[in-house]
Symmetry: C2
Subunit: 139 residues, 2 copies
């Protein structure tokens, strides 16, 4: 990590009205330093442990939610038993590998959703989420 990178992350947090604490900076680094990630709370927690960052699971959850509320992350619902958080906050879709439980982005423009029927009365779209579930070809 270069010097400027940490400064950038600190700015990112400050811009989101989040105090750049030791824990938040460490999480921001794990989340945003190395391309897009789709990650669960437990996974991020063990990544942090692996990077010798002392942080409690409660703090992981607190911050994942705060980052999400601030628009730094978004939540992807693909599995009814755990939450995934996505560092790519642009509108896009996903491949979901059922065996491994991993996600892969589908860029918005690659995929077209057409002919959405009239919305239920009194509602507006909050998002359109496409999950292409894939599994290994049995051979």
């Amino acid at each position: 990590m270069v010097q400027s990178e940490l400064a950038d992350l600190e700015k990112k947090l400050r811009d989101a009205q989040l105090r750049p604490t030791k824990q938040r900076l460490a999480l921001a680094q794990l989340l945003f330093s190395d391309g897009n990630r789709h990650i669960t709370a437990e996974r991020l927690h063990s990544d942090a442990m692996g990077a010798n960052v002392a942080i409690s699971l409660a703090t992981i959850y607190n911050n994942l939610h705060q980052f999400t509320a601030a628009g730094l992350l978004r939540e992807v619902v693909v599995d009814s038993s755990r939450s995934y958080f996505d560092t790519n906050v642009m509108p896009h879709h996903h491949f979901f590998h059922e065996q491994s439980g991993t996600l892969e982005d589908i860029e918005k423009n690659d995929l077209k959703v057409d002919n959405i029927p009239p919305l239920p009365e009194g509602t507006e779209i909050s998002s359109v989420d496409v999950i292409v579930r894939v599994s290994s070809t049995r051979r």
Copy 2:
């Protein structure tokens, strides 16, 4: 419920290799007698209680999963905190009302998903799920 209806449900269960026990028939009735439903385990349990059907929550879960494995139900993932089961097993999509937590079908042909990019190597599609999340227009 007409006489023939119970016989139909019994056949439906037998065809799926499921013994038509008192509990299963009662659940089948709650699930399949009155149009399509999108239901959670807890909701089905209270529906059963309301209909004076004595059935444990464990049995509700057992049967929702057995019905799903048998193709009588399918699971819809829209909320990372609970599972929804759908009596409509044809391919189709959903509106999800974020406020109420309710689902509404979008017929397969109404909505078109195009330009799915090449699948990850060695995988095949198991399903394509579109969730249009809607919320009440604030006024």
